[in-house]
Amino acid sequence: MRRTLFSLCVLVMVMAAHAGTPPVSVSDARIRWLPGDLPMAGYFVITSHAPGPLRLTGAESPAFGHVMVHRSVEEAGVAHMAHVDSVDLAPGRPVAFVPGGYHLMLMHRTQALQAGEAVPVILRFSDGRTLAVSFRVTGAEGE
């Protein structure tokens, strides 16, 4: 598993070294399945290898009508979600999109999905470049 993740990271980095793709590595990209057409959350860990500042500014996917970058916040025992315009990616510092924190909110499925499938998600960055990442659909209860 670790080795697969590592090679995936290397692959993404190699791809990024070529024209057009931003210098970032993404690992552990997954979507937690929910029934029907309920919105689902996408999680991943992203690290920028750019020499200067870079921001994640949005995402889209052919499998969803609408994708938003969100952050769950808890204030005085009440949980709510906040829309996020962009996420700063400091060079070499991994940023984790995890349950209860940053996540992609994937809404309005264009096709039925089930656990085990891979779904492409395109991440957009402040330098205008995009990166296609394959997200694995996990069960509702996670791993």
Binding site: P39, A79, H108
Partner: protein, 200 residues
Amino acid sequence: MTAGAAALRRMVVLLAGLLVACGHSAPPWGLRDISGLMPPLDFTLTAASDGAPVHGKDFQGRLVLLYFGYTHCPDVCPTTLSLLSHAVAGLGERAAQVRILFVSVDPARDTPAQLKTYAAAFGPEAVGLSGSEAELKALTKRYRVSYGYGKADARGDYEVSHSSAVYVFDRAGEIRLLIGPTDAAPVITGDLQRLLAEEP
């Protein structure tokens, strides 16, 4: 013996007694102990599974984990429900003596059918419950649970804010523990085991 010495002696006896009492007291709970701070489990709601009315007392004899949320919640609600589901699964065969009650605070969107499949995704112990506005108000007021609705966007999607706490009731329906978002599954499992080991 002088009065001062007698008083001192009484003090020593009292302190020794306290020490013995402390030595015999149960170890602290892993979760937050809120025994007696809230009223016993009582509500009237509708079961998403079959549309039948359900009452708090229907769950007597089982441990109850009471949680409020909504199905269009992609992050916090499934995260909490899967945490509870993993914690309950850790009880092995005794998991059947626990119910996870997921009460929807979004009756406008959460149809019984949707709530049923949503709850079912989190294991056999999860039960989806919905209620009229009055029923929800009564229950959320009873446990000081707050919720509110965000503005709908162009697609009609809106966000719901809701209390993140999970209330744990013992088999007699008395409030006992509070589960917060940072509690780990093994800690929850350990406390549920202790509650199940108590005299019913």
